[in-house]
């Protein structure tokens, strides 16, 4: 199959990615997507990549990766088929995964074009924009939906301004420890003590054991719990160092704010 680049006038920027370009080539040449002529499409694909003088570097990597995939599939097809007579099953067509990806991609590409022409708020439809302050009072009952993204963005903002030594990665392990601290404190609530071993319920995975232990150490460091033992080698007990608040009846007065 000959390709005349002038007729194509293809610009990579017009394609969302290698899958998009391949779909274009398949349609342009009226190829059967379920039986893609690999030699022809690989040639065309490579010719187009070659012809691209200016390539966006980020895009290039993805287009090149696909080129490698195409060449790989093409070479596999050139190999004589291994017919294993004992195994009735045939080897999967080397093109199968590519075809699946193209079909999937095509579905989402198409539906995104349908979404684009749906009547859209702010473009095709408008709602009432003027406030009615005289009627609706702001009483702030529920919550406006905020996402984790907002929370993270807020944290990032704080850390940007915050003193140096506080700026560190909040990693998953630390978060698990925090979670555990919360749980241990809930266990201790309203009790005089809890046995050390009770907090390590059986079935905990190794990393969960470590997290629980780290959480206890953190609580001791924070002077919120004390470890006690009646006899050496006896049961270790955790005592709340101070009265833990009942969360059910929060007193949200000034004294709840920590400066009393």
């Amino acid at each position: 199959m000959n390709i005349d680049m002038d007729n194509y006038a293809i610009h990579l920027e017009n394609f969302e990615g290698p899958l998009d370009l391949l779909l274009h080539l398949i349609k342009k040449n009226e190829m059967d997507i379920y039986d893609i002529p690999m030699a022809a499409i690989t040639d065309q694909y490579l010719t187009i990549l070659d012809a691209m003088k200016v390539l966006n570097l980020d895009l290039a990597g993805e287009f090149l990766l696909m080129a490698a995939t195409l060449l790989h599939i093409k070479s596999k097809l050139l190999l004589p088929k291994l017919v294993d007579e004992e195994l009735e099953e045939e080897e999967e067509d080397p093109r199968a995964e590519l075809v699946r990806r193209l079909l999937e991609y095509q579905k989402y590409k198409e539906v995104s074009q349908i979404l684009d022409i749906q009547p859209r708020l702010g473009r095709d439809l408008f709602t009432r924009a003027a406030p009615q302050p005289e009627v609706l009072e702001e009483t702030e009952a529920g919550f406006v939906a905020v996402g984790l993204f907002d929370l993270l963005a807020a944290l990032k903002e704080v850390l940007k301004e915050a003193p140096e030594q506080f700026v560190h990665e909040v990693n998953m392990e630390q978060l698990s420890v925090k979670d555990r601290i919360n749980t241990i404190l809930s266990c201790l609530q309203g009790k005089e003590s809890v046995a050390f071993a009770d907090l390590f319920s059986s079935g905990l995975k190794r990393n969960e054991l470590i997290v629980t232990f780290l959480a206890m150490l953190e609580l001791v460091k924070l002077r919120m719990v004390r470890f006690m033992q009646n006899t050496s080698h006896g049961t270790i007990w955790l005592f709340p160092a101070v009265v833990l608040e009942e969360t059910g009846e929060l007193d949200v007065g000034e004294d709840a704010l920590g400066y009393t």
């Binding site: 342009k28 579905k107 198409e110 539906v111 684009d116 708020l121 408008f126 709602t127």
Partner: protein, 197 residues
């Protein structure tokens, strides 16, 4: 309260609410059954078709909202009080993938699209069309994403099941059609956000 009295009251409530208003909230505020509210809504809908109004009732994101009729869009844009979302093709593609396949990870989106989608994902998060649902319980604990209430509101969908049906691939359109289609879908729409449809 009979329906002739109730319908304008329900209309006022929907009018005054600052987002789609749920039937149960109306029922609660009026201390009525939801079925009564629903029949008032039905009466309003009939009324709006009998005597054309500038707006219509749209069921969106689990509630009801008054929205202007689409055929007035050109005039309303001239009044210029709104700045519409403009979607790039990558943004719309990624949004479609997230909408249909949620909960979905970034690498799943990228596998489907064949290109890096981090910055597009970030923009969709910033615009609150997409949210982080949590983490997937697989090695590496990647974050999983889904769409938001704002997404439903933007596209005027009552819920996710109202998304247009994903068409299974049957036959690829002939190339000429496709070219025409691409010509109609510019990468970025022009200044006032009017795509030529």
């Amino acid at each position: 309260m009979d329906i002739l009295e109730l319908a304008p009251l329900v209309e006022a409530m929907i009018f005054a609410a600052d987002g789609p208003l749920k039937v149960d909230r109306m029922a609660e505020a009026l201390d009525m059954d939801q079925t009564e509210i629903l029949s008032a809504i039905e009466a309003l809908e009939i009324d709006y078709t009998e005597r054309p109004r500038g707006f219509f009732l749209q069921e969106v994101s689990g509630g009801y909202q008054l929205r202007t009729r689409p055929e007035y869009a050109d005039f309303l844009r001239k009044l210029g009080h709104s700045r519409p979302f403009k979607f790039s093709r990558p943004a719309l593609e990624s949004l479609a993938i997230i909408a249909y396949r949620q909960p979905v990870t970034r690498s799943e989106i990228e596998y489907l699209r064949g290109v890096d989608s981090g910055s597009v994902l970030k923009t969709l998060l910033e615009k609150r069309l997409v949210r982080i649902l949590g983490k997937k319980d697989v090695p590496g604990k990647p974050m999983i994403y889904g769409t938001t209430r704002e997404f439903l509101e933007l596209f005027g969908l009552p819920d996710l099941s109202a998304l247009p049906t994903l068409r299974e691939f049957s036959e690829l359109a002939p190339e000429e059609d496709n070219q025409a289609f691409m010509a109609n879908l510019p990468l970025l729409v022009d200044e006032d956000g009017l795509t030529e449809l």
